[in-house]
């Protein structure tokens, strides 16, 4: 089977400060990978390099595109990369306000991505938007409200709807449940799990919350100081950690 994403030697520093160094892995269709590590360990730098938001110093990100098979997204043209980002890829930001247009209605936020890929039929777009609001458990009656009037959990669910409406195959998530209170997190996790399963999505999730990866991720990569120190099946890494740093990370939380 061809990996959906094949990452080799991903390296990015900020001046003489290291972001991430020599990270390699393959992600297969339908797989969900978690990336954990303390803050500053390079998780978000890596994610942003993978998603094309940051240019890596070295390394390649080979993506199995729908039309043209495996392509290196680091060296492809900017318009091509942007098109991927709007269609086949999705990016869920920690702060919903970074991923939503706060001045546009909820329906507009969802419809915008459809228009960006050439959908022009107003009725269709609105129909899709209503369908997606329902899937993320937002009352269709709120379709004309702007996200500023939504709670944090609702904003995050709207961001997910906006991202998934184009039927992407790969979703990047940066702390998708960060900053939400626990009961809201549980609902969001449950929703994400269902969507990942039903849509057969592949995903890369950066988080510092081990409970989140336990529930969502098939496999787990542990990062420390920009490097991968351990990598494997999620429950194996959490229940039988091999590296000193992973052991510390796991023993520092109560029970996951």
């Amino acid at each position: 089977m061809t990996p959906l994403l094949s990452v080799q030697g991903m390296t990015r520093s900020y001046g003489n400060h290291l972001g991430c160094s020599d990270v390699s892995f393959d992600l297969y269709p339908g797989e969900v990978m978690g990336i954990v590590g303390e803050s500053g360990s390079g998780k978000s730098t890596l994610l942003n390099c993978l998603a094309g938001h940051l240019t890596p110093d070295a390394g390649s990100v080979i993506y199995d595109t729908r039309g043209h098979g495996p392509r290196d997204t680091v060296t492809m043209s900017e318009p091509e990369r942007r098109m991927l980002g709007r269609t086949d890829w999705a990016f869920v930001h920690q702060r919903a306000s970074d991923g939503l247009r706060m001045g546009v209605s909820a329906g507009g936020n969802v419809g915008e991505r459809l228009m960006a890929i050439g959908n022009r039929h107003y009725g269709d777009i609105r129909g899709h938007a209503i369908d997606w609001l329902d899937r993320v458990e937002i009352d269709a009656g709120r379709i004309d409200d702007r996200p500023v009037t939504f709670s944090g959990g609702m904003q995050q669910r709207l961001q997910i709807a906006r991202n998934l409406v184009t039927g992407p195959r790969l979703v990047f998530m940066d702390e998708p449940t960060g900053g939400l209170d626990v009961s809201v997190q549980a609902r969001l996790l449950d929703l994400l799990r269902g969507l990942v399963r039903d849509m057969g999505l592949s995903a890369i999730i950066v988080t510092h919350d081990l409970a989140v990866v336990r529930l969502l991720a098939d496999r787990l990569m542990v990062m420390k100081s920009g490097r991968v120190v351990e990598h494997g099946l999620t429950d194996r890494v959490l229940d039988d950690p091999q590296h000193a740093y992973t052991q510390l990370l796991v023993s520092s939380v109560l029970q996951v």
Binding site: E31, D190, R197, L215, D218, L233, D239, D240, L248
Partner: protein
């Protein structure tokens, strides 16, 4: 169906003076279809550790652990996940579930994961929950607030809803009353008849004698401790 060759297990506690615990060495084990093997031995002998290694949850230090032809020691995560979905069921001692998910869905999930249509998966889940005496009014609730015995039966329902060719059972009857214990032992017997290879830990000797064909004392795999 389940085949272990020269398996060993060591824990290294890096943050506790790099203490090394040698738990198991030279483990050989074969479990054939239709057979139930009991793991016995004193507390701390490594029964659960061995079972978790067969599930791919603990990493073997060396050796081969083959389930349905795949060596779980060398397998990629996605292969282990596939084996767990299709071939290898595990009833752990404690239920671990996603908050908010109703019991019926928790039990139906293994069938949904192999692509069964929702109505068939739910029908089978209902059937097992009924057989295990979980009151119907609890089916729509998350099992997180259930009693110990109820949670255990939900866990068992989950483990038996799909006819796994191989099954791992860690004290499946521990907190059950005699009636429910009998029902669970009946499920195990039925699974054996359809050809499941089973490894079980049973502290209850009568239960063990009723369903198990052989006993393996895990204590015999305790390595010689270097002085």
């Amino acid at each position: 169906m389940i085949e272990l060759r020269n398996v060993s297990k060591t824990f290294t506690l890096h943050n506790q003076g790099s203490a090394v615990i040698n738990v198991l060495a030279h483990v050989d084990l074969d479990v054939r279809p239709g057979e139930c093997v009991a793991l016995t031995g004193s507390s701390g002998a490594g029964k659960s550790t061995l079972m978790r290694m067969i599930y791919g949850n603990y990493m073997a230090r060396s050796g081969v652990i083959r389930v349905g032809g795949v060596d779980l020691v060398q397998a990629e995560p996605r292969e282990i996940i596939r084996i767990r979905r299709e071939t290898l069921g595990y009833v752990s001692q404690f239920l671990r579930v996603v908050p908010r998910v109703p019991t019926l869905q928790v039990v139906a999930e293994p069938l949904r994961a192999i692509g069964a249509p929702p109505d068939r998966a739910e029908a089978q889940a209902r059937d097992l929950l009924t057989r295990l005496n979980i009151p119907r009014r609890l089916w729509s609730l998350s099992p997180t607030t259930f009693s110990g015995g109820e949670q255990q039966r939900v866990n068992i329902a989950r483990g038996f809803v799909h006819p796994y060719p191989a099954l791992l059972l860690d004290e499946p009857t521990a907190s059950l009353d005699p009636e429910n214990r009998d029902i669970v032992l009946g499920l195990i017997e039925t699974a054996k008849q359809r050809g499941a290879a089973i490894v079980g830990i049973f502290h209850d000797t009568d239960a063990r004698n009723r369903v198990c064909d052989r006993e393996i004392d895990v204590g015999r795999f305790t390595p010689e401790q270097a002085a």
